[in-house]
Amino acid sequence: MRRLSLGTWLLPVYSALALIFLMIPIVYTFVFSFNDSLKSNITWRGFTLDKWLNVCAVQNGAVCEAFGNSLIIGVVATVIATTLGTMIAIALVRYRFRFRAGTSLLLFLPMATPEVVLGAGLAAQFLSLGVPKDMLTIILAHTMFCISFVVVTVKARVAGLDPALEEAGRDLYGSPAQVFARITFPLLLPGILAAALLSFALSFDDFIITNFNSGAVTTFPKYIYISASRGIPAEANVIASMVFILALVIVVTAQVSAGARAKRQARQG
């Protein structure tokens, strides 16, 4: 059985090289978090653990303050977006209603709009309403672009839910609230958690929309943008590396547990 002859050895070698290429800036950022740098972190000046041990020491803790702001914004925006998005996802799959096409379009458009347009649009609205830009406007902006991604993620989970399980709950005289809390919600939870993680990641790494709506508030990406011209301290690399490792652990854990679940289901037939 011959398939594409190209696939015998060229393809694996190419794929390995491609993945190594994708890793280059990650390794670079990680390595330079150990650089014994002064103001800017461009040339290698020797290995140190100082930056990891005293992350918040630099510039009176400006890096950590920006990081803290990003965390707060990410958590609040994620909670709101995940709640609103999950409700929409359930309605879209489970109910028929008028303006269904319009609703889908309204959910699709924010994902098809360039971030710079979303950012400038909100900023123009806040400007014309006289709303001062601060933490709240950033949260409002982040929630907006996260909702659609939550809907897409949770919708797949709702669609895969066996309605018979909820019917069984109703047949056993469970109230709608009980059925939701004891059956629907636990079954949707993996999808909701995945959506929340995605939403947090989008919010945490967003710069473009934030830049238009943040006023004087500094988030972690905005801090990097502002410092880019005069040099980024190695502490920024430390925080980015910590976030990277944390994200990697979460994703690998999720993959392994999903794999174990699939195996268990396969064994049970």
């Binding site: 059985m1 398939r3 190209l6 696939g7 694996p12 190419y14 794929s15 994708l22 890793m23 280059i24 800036p25 990650i26 670079y28 950022t29 461009i42 609103l84 409700m87 929409i88 309605a91 799959v93 489970r94 109910y95 028929r96 209603f97 309204l106 959910l107 924010p110 098809a112 709009t113 360039p114 971030e115 710079v116 347009v117 979303l118 400038a120 649009g121 123009a124 609205q125 400007l127 929630t143 907006m144 909702i147 309605p163 790494d205 710069f207 473009i208 238009f212 972690f220 990406p221 990097i224 943008y225 880019a228 920024a236 690399n237 980015a240 990277f244 994200a247 990697l248 993959q255 794999g259």
Partner: protein
């Protein structure tokens, strides 16, 4: 055969949601939809209104009043047409490069590596790994790697692959390179998703009918992976066209690589010329929607052929 035909027409139970308790549906939908109307649709309307504003008479810089000054559009196109063209040019090149880079990789993960699920998940984690490191820091990392003093550039100059006075950063090359790198995961993931579901028996059929590997690839694999190609190219093209990080002077760009995003940012946040920024945003969004619409339609009909 009959069984296969039967199973393909049997619709999944969730395809036709029952019409029940529309009040509940309304309660579930209303908060989220209202939110998007207030913070997505309304801002677009205010962007259109802002784009038509005129400077307030005797007002300060950054003072504008509502008007119907459509000349704003003419003015920004006259002033910024090179940036507009450059944005779409860069975005198209970056999208094509990302597709060329990602397709073999996605094919290997989705088709060849099927026998080894562990390898498959490991490779997928590596594909999305760039998302976990700050977008700005990974772009800055490339700036350092491509900078004039870097190991890469000095060695390229030593072996005369690069002229002694040439630069990599601040050029169209580095901006397109950055755009391509940063959006590769957006291309690879949808490609992987469709290729993972590719039925290998179709490829075997092509082989059995004495088609060459290339011919089978062109007439079977590519059309079957069209949904992934369409999704991947859109997910790459849209953010690339509006991006202004890679083209920014502090990152991979230079004075003559500025894209539409850079001029929107400069007009809005630095020059306080809100109508110009708004008009450019509307132009960017309209062109993207038109391109997306035409592209989806065309690729859809091609799929049917």
């Amino acid at each position: 055969m009959a069984f296969a035909a039967f199973s393909s027409t049997a619709a999944p139970p969730t395809d036709a949601p029952p019409r029940r308790r529309s009040k509940v549906a309304l309660l579930l939908l209303l908060p989220g939809i209202l939110y998007l109307v207030l913070f997505f649709l309304a801002p677009l309307v205010s962007l259109i209104l802002t784009s038509l504003q005129a400077p307030t008479e005797f007002g300060d810089i950054g003072m504008y009043s509502y008007a119907f000054r459509w000349e704003n559009y003419v003015a920004v196109v006259e002033q910024y047409w090179p940036h507009i063209l450059r944005s779409f040019g860069y975005a198209i090149v970056a999208t094509v490069l990302a597709l060329a880079f990602s397709y073999p990789l996605a094919y290997f993960i989705g088709v060849t590596a099927r026998k080894w699920p562990l390898l498959q998940s490991l490779m997928l984690v590596l594909v999305i790994a760039p998302f976990f490191i700050s977008f700005l820091l990974r772009t800055l990392a490339w700036k350092q790697i491509l900078s004039d003093e870097s190991f890469l550039v000095t060695s390229l100059k030593a072996v005369s692959l690069l002229a002694p006075d040439a630069h990599l950063t601040g050029t169209a090359f580095s901006v397109i390179f950055g755009l391509t790198y940063n959006f590769i995961p957006f291309m690879t993931l949808p490609l992987y998703t469709t290729l993972e579901r590719l039925d290998l028996r179709y490829l075997e059929a092509g082989n059995d009918l004495y088609a060459s590997g290339f011919h089978t690839f062109r007439t079977v694999t590519i059309p079957l992976s069209m949904p992934g190609i369409v999704a991947g190219t859109l997910l790459t093209f849209i953010p690339a066209a509006g991006d202004y990080i890679n083209a920014s002077r502090d990152f991979l760009g230079g004075a003559d690589t500025q894209m539409i995003g850079n001029v929107i940012e400069a007009n809005f946040l630095v020059l306080l010329n809100y109508p110009a920024a708004a008009a450019l945003s509307i132009i960017l969004m309209t062109v993207i929607l038109v391109i997306v619409g035409v592209y989806v339609k065309r690729s859809g009909t091609e799929e049917l052929l």
